[in-house]
């Protein structure tokens, strides 16, 4: 019995590891391509005659604006996430815990606007941002990103899952809404806030279309569209772009490693189970 269990467990572990490697394959391929000359970009992973070179990394790191792009991206991500967290937490608390007229209608309306694909508003946004003078600044990315309905819904759903007895006890103690939000909801929402930060980070970090449209100066550009500056005759310089992508991924992966630990341990101890 025990032995059989062991075999089963080993097989399961092996299968999971194989699946994991399959998931990782494109990433490995990306790293591999980043060390090749562009003429060999499309060769298989292990094929004879591949030349390995550090030129691509030299080209990316040696670009006079590379540090600008990196800094711009970090600044944009940090500022956006902060504004987003503050306004979204406040609104999510109101929508999940307070009764006021028009709540359902407003929320339904916000949800409905989530369906509008970004492609349809590209031109109006461009003209409008130009009018109010934020075109070609990082604000043109930060301000529109700040109020993202998706994260509002995420936090509302999370707040709704917090048992009512918590707040009832606090209300009886005479705590006001700011206190309840600050002392009870936010400390309990660790996982939801971590999720928000993590996904915000990835989405803004990998956002291509908006900075591509709204930023013209090469030194104001963000990293993801900026990688597209590495072109050669006939199309993208694949290996250099892969080298840039690998460098751009470092902070995202670091964040992943940290929040994953948080998910494993943090969720269990957060007290949501009640």
């Amino acid at each position: 019995m025990g032995k059989q269990m062991n075999v089963k467990k080993t097989v399961f572990t092996a299968v999971m590891w194989i699946l994991a490697l399959m998931m990782l394959y494109p990433f490995i391929m990306m790293i591999a391509i980043s060390f090749r000359p562009s003429g060999q970009a499309y060769q298989p992973l292990f094929s004879p005659g591949i030349i390995h070179t550090l030129r691509n990394y030299n080209q990316v790191l040696g670009h006079p604006n590379f540090l600008d792009w990196y800094r711009n991206t970090v600044v944009t991500v940090v500022v956006t996430i902060m504004i987003r967290l503050v306004i979204t937490l406040l609104a999510a608390y109101a929508f999940s815990r307070l009764r006021f007229k028009g709540k359902g209608v407003i929320l339904a309306f916000l949800v409905a606007t989530m369906m509008v694909p970004g492609e349809t508003t590209m031109v109006p946004r461009y003209l409008y941002f130009r009018e109010i003078g934020i075109l070609n600044t990082l604000w043109s990315i930060v301000l529109p990103e700040a109020s993202e309905v998706f994260y509002l819904i995420l936090l509302i759903e999370f707040f709704r899952s917090i048992p009512g007895d918590f707040t009832e006890a606090a209300t009886i103690d005479g705590a006001g809404h700011p206190t309840i939000l600050l002392r009870i909801f936010i400390p309990l929402s660790g996982p939801a806030i971590a999720t928000t930060v993590l996904f915000s980070f990835i989405n803004i970090w990998n956002n291509y279309l908006d900075p591509y449209l709204f930023i013209n100066n090469i030194e104001t550009q963000l990293i993801t569209p900026a990688l597209q500056f590495f072109q050669e005759q006939g199309g993208a310089n694949m290996p250099v772009q892969m080298a840039g992508s690998s460098l751009a991924l470092i902070p995202v992966i670091i964040l992943f490693v940290f929040t994953q630990k948080y998910f494993v341990q943090g969720v269990a101890s957060s007290g949501i189970k009640g």
Partner: protein
């Protein structure tokens, strides 16, 4: 305590971030007395000649060039400059590749007419550029042509040597081209005798050489001209039946940059391309290859089709330019000099001996003996061929282009027959034309 520290650190980071947001004003703007801004494809940005050229311009005129490249390839560049110009961008100088896009930008009213300014500096553009000067119906020209791109056939000498087939020589016809390609094709060695992009104008190239008009006299779509059908069928025949070149389905399967096919994916004996391709063929570092290339002229499409395909690059000035005077200086300078740096062909109506040496000398040198200045001149310019535009130029040209490409691709992949493809092209294009008017 830890929490307090964390909060303080976050607050500091936030303050620093907000401080760093600042304005979007170019830092370069304040450092120079005179500047000119130009928007170009990102391809230029990575080429040393472009930076050398701008440095020389600054040395000569004292005007600093601020480059605003567009991230992405040439298609993205074309889309993005339109968005910027229509949003009222105040960039000064715009480079446009291909008459199709240039004519749309002119009709959108993006550019300044240059007649007075150019003639004021004592240039006679009509004599200098001849038919290449883009004079509009209103008698104005809104750009100067700064380069032209000629088509030719590049070939792999090694494959010819191995097969014992003599190198191709002009003048020749498409029948001879196909015959040669058949001799060279050897699937067992992965060799294709020919390669043509799954794109326009390759899908009906001889029809374009025959200068069959894309529009009827009344302005409607003329793709139902039997010559288009004939050569669309021919393209499919030599790909799918004769198998001398990868079929459209095969190319769609990889959907890669076609540089890849020419230089890595297959062994290709011959491929009709624009002259700019020499830069890839010469780049041993990016595209290591163990064979030498040669150049032959584009085959003739027979009587009336004795033409080469030509595309032009234009330099224009934005009508909202922030520095119109500097813009004019730069545009004139580019029109006169860019081709020398880029290693391209100027758009002058005639090329002097000296011009030839300037245009092709650097290419020949970079090829390390694979081609000579004379090879290039004889096979690109002095071919005895006339010239026709490689683009569709006219109403709704961009849609025309896309529709033809979509429908002919489907035809080549056996998703529909030729008659259906042509009739769909005609009705869709006519709809687009009606919409545009």
């Amino acid at each position: 305590m830890r929490r307090l520290f964390l909060t303080a650190a976050l607050a500091a980071l936030a303050a620093a971030s907000l401080f760093a947001m600042g304005g979007g004003e170019t830092s370069a703007a304040s450092e120079y007395d005179k500047i000119v801004t130009t928007t170009v494809t990102a391809t230029y940005l990575n080429e040393t000649w472009f930076n050398t050229m701008n440095a020389d311009f600054e040395k000569e005129t004292g005007i600093h060039v601020v480059v605003q490249p567009v991230p992405g390839d040439e298609d993205e560049y074309k889309a993005k400059i339109n968005i910027d110009l229509m949003g009222g961008s105040d960039v000064d100088v715009v480079e446009t590749l291909g008459p199709k896009d240039y004519s749309r930008q002119v009709s959108a009213g993006f550019f300044m007419p240059l007649n007075d300014a150019v003639e004021a500096v004592g240039i006679d553009p009509y004599a200098l550029y001849g038919a290449n000067l883009p004079v509009e119906d209103d008698g104005n020209y809104y750009a100067l042509p700064f380069k032209q791109e000629m088509y030719c056939v590049f070939y792999n000498k090694k494959i010819f040597d191995e097969a014992g087939v003599p190198y191709p020589q002009g003048p020749w016809t498409w029948d001879e081209y196909v015959e040669t390609a058949q001799k060279l094709t050897d699937k067992s060695k992965g060799i294709y005798g020919s390669f043509m992009n799954a794109d326009l104008p390759w899908m009906y190239m001889p029809a374009q050489q025959l200068a069959v008009p894309f529009y009827k006299e009344d302005g409607s779509c003329n793709f139902d001209d039997p010559v288009f059908a004939e050569y669309a069928e021919w393209f499919k025949h030599i790909s799918n039946d004769l198998g001398i070149q990868p079929s459209v389905s095969e190319l769609e399967a990889e959907n890669a940059n076609w540089n890849y096919y020419a230089l890595e994916g297959y062994r290709l004996a011959m491929f009709p391309q624009g002259n700019w391709f020499t830069r890839l063929l010469n780049s041993q570092e990016d595209y290591p290859k163990d064979w030498d290339y040669g150049v032959a002229p584009l085959p003739s499409a027979g009587e009336g089709g004795n033409n080469n395909l030509v595309s032009l690059g234009y330099v224009a000035i934005n009508k909202n330019a922030a520095h119109p005077e500097e813009a004019l200086t730069y545009a004139l300078w580019i029109a006169e000099n860019q081709w020398k740096y880029e290693g391209g062909i100027p758009a002058f109506s005639t090329m002097s001996e000296e011009d030839q040496q300037l245009a092709f000398g650097s290419i020949a040198e970079a090829s390390h003996g694979q081609v000579t200045v004379d090879d290039l001149y004889q096979n690109l310019i002095n071919t005895g061929l006339g010239s026709v535009s490689s683009d569709i130029v006219g109403t709704a040209a961009a849609e025309y282009y896309n529709i033809v490409k979509e429908e002919l691709s489907s035809y080549n992949m056996d998703l529909q027959d030729l008659d259906t493809a042509i009739s769909k092209i005609v009705s869709r294009v006519n709809e687009a034309i009606a919409n545009a008017e």
